[in-house]
């Protein structure tokens, strides 16, 4: 049974149909890269998964539990971690406090347990020495690694990455991708919206190509990137290659 199922999701912004019947089943441990032109609905899809974005039709299920059932939204959010393009660290809290806050408030861990977990995770992303620093004192790449630790501290079953490296200077992209790669190797289930095709090719089990709110293709990286059948995907790949 898939860990995460999207059933025929429809969403509109006014007259614009941003998601036009998205169906997706994600198996535990799978890494899925979601690619496609901007405005194709990738980020909206990700935000639908943890209920940040309301949708008109369809359903999201985590372990067969519907996000629409009363009381389920909070439980599902707790089990799905999200990493944002702009990091969204809490600017008034130190690195350590950022990683501890939700553990204390949501999981009701005591200070000692929350700190222990935070230190382990920060060490894993190489930032244990930044414990007392504030986000404004870190580089973008460091902030994003803290944001990943903050999400992982909730022991999520699925991680969502919304263009996690798009706001970074080119020389900082690698350090964040490395963390994401090791997370994928550890067996985390991941949905990754990205423009990093090399990452998608090397790390993803599947690539989902979206265009105008629809899934145009869904298959192995080789099938989608090397031998795309659809003309729109071919065009997209050519544009990327020209960059």
């Amino acid at each position: 049974m898939p860990i995460l199922t999207l059933r025929n999701i429809h969403k509109r912004f006014g007259s614009l149909e941003v998601l036009a019947g998205i169906k997706l089943a994600v198996e535990a441990g799978e890494v899925i890269a979601i690619v496609g032109p901007s405005g194709s609905g990738k980020s909206t899809l990700l935000r639908v998964v943890n209920g940040l974005e309301p949708f008109e039709q369809g359903d999201v299920e985590l372990d067969g539990q519907s996000i629409r059932a009363p009381g389920n939204l909070a439980a599902i959010r707790r089990q799905i971690g999200m990493v944002f393009q702009q990091f969204n660290l809490f600017s008034h809290l130190t690195v350590g406090e950022n990683v501890m806050l939700a553990q204390r408030l949501v999981l009701k861990r005591d200070a000692k347990a929350a700190e222990e977990r935070a230190r382990v995770l920060l060490a894993r992303v190489g930032l244990e020495d930044k414990w007392n620093r504030y986000p404004s004192q870190l580089s973008g790449g460091q902030q994003q690694r803290v944001a990943i630790s903050r999400a992982l501290a909730m022991d999520p079953r699925v991680m969502l990455f919304d263009e996690a490296t798009s706001a970074l200077d080119p020389e900082l992209v690698g350090e964040v991708l490395a963390v994401m790669r090791s997370l994928a190797d550890s067996g985390m289930t991941m949905l990754v919206v990205t423009h990093e095709m090399n990452f998608a090719r090397e790390v993803a089990d599947r690539i989902v190509f979206m265009d105008q709110g629809r899934i145009l293709a869904d298959g192995t990286p080789q099938a989608i990137l090397d031998a795309p059948e659809d003309a729109r995907i071919q065009q997209f790949m050519r544009r990327l290659a020209e960059r």
Partner: protein
């Protein structure tokens, strides 16, 4: 012109008592104002439309009518509804409700200045809206508007002099009293003006240090 500073020395005690009462009234009414401000700002951001309207009416009426009249209404008007209180209590309420309207607007500006991503990240982590307000939105908002809040505190301290009109013996009230008794008008008023300066500059200094301690530049977004 002959200034008789020597003769007012025997009134220093009374003036300092007045200054002390000014401090007490300022702290009490500003505390009330902060509570009113948070509630009204929250109401103005509420999803419930009637709450929003009520809060807007409150802010507009209180900010666009004289605070002195508002104090009169509390002191002379409330007793006809059976609500009796001392002049000091009436003054604290009148001033507090008025300053609360201004603080509500300042807090609202602060809340609007909190990056949307902060709230989104909190939601995505499973933090409830109330927890998010207490632990994230409120402190970040306050860090953005702390200088404006400091100004409001000083405005409240100076505004407390209006309570002399309903016979509250705060610094201005005491000054009027002593001046009328001794005719040492210039001396007494200059001395009290100096005391107000000490109070306001002292507050600015203390609040400035508090602000730098609570919200260091590195902890701002």
């Amino acid at each position: 012109m002959f200034l008789d500073w020597g003769s007012i020395t025997s009134y220093y005690g009374l003036l300092l008592q007045g200054a002390w009462l000014t401090i007490v009234i300022t702290l009490a009414s500003f505390t009330l104002a902060a509570i009113v401000g948070v509630l009204v700002a929250a109401a103005r951001a509420s999803a419930v439309a009637p709450l929003r309207w009520l809060a807007t009416v409150y802010v507009e009426v209180l900010r666009n009518t004289p605070v002195l009249l508002q104090i009169f209404i509390v002191f002379y008007g409330f007793p006809s509804f059976g609500i009796r209180m001392t002049a000091i209590t009436a003054g604290i309420l009148g001033l507090g409700f008025n300053v609360g309207a201004y603080l509500a607007e300042i807090f609202r500006a602060g809340i609007n200045a909190v990056p949307r991503g902060h709230r989104e990240a909190a939601t995505a982590l499973g933090i409830t809206p109330l927890q998010s307000f207490i632990w994230i939105v409120a402190p970040v908002a306050l860090s953005k508007v702390f200088p404006a809040v400091t100004n409001m505190f000083i405005a409240t301290l100076l505004g407390s002099s209006l309570l002399s009109v309903i016979a509250v013996p705060e610094l201005t009230g005491q000054t009027n009293e002593i001046s009328a008794r001794t005719f040492l008008t210039i001396e007494v008023y200059s001395f009290s003006t100096g005391l107000y300066l000490v109070l306001t500059l002292g507050s600015a200094l203390i609040l400035g240090m508090l602000g730098r301690r609570l919200f260091p530049a590195r902890a701002r977004g």
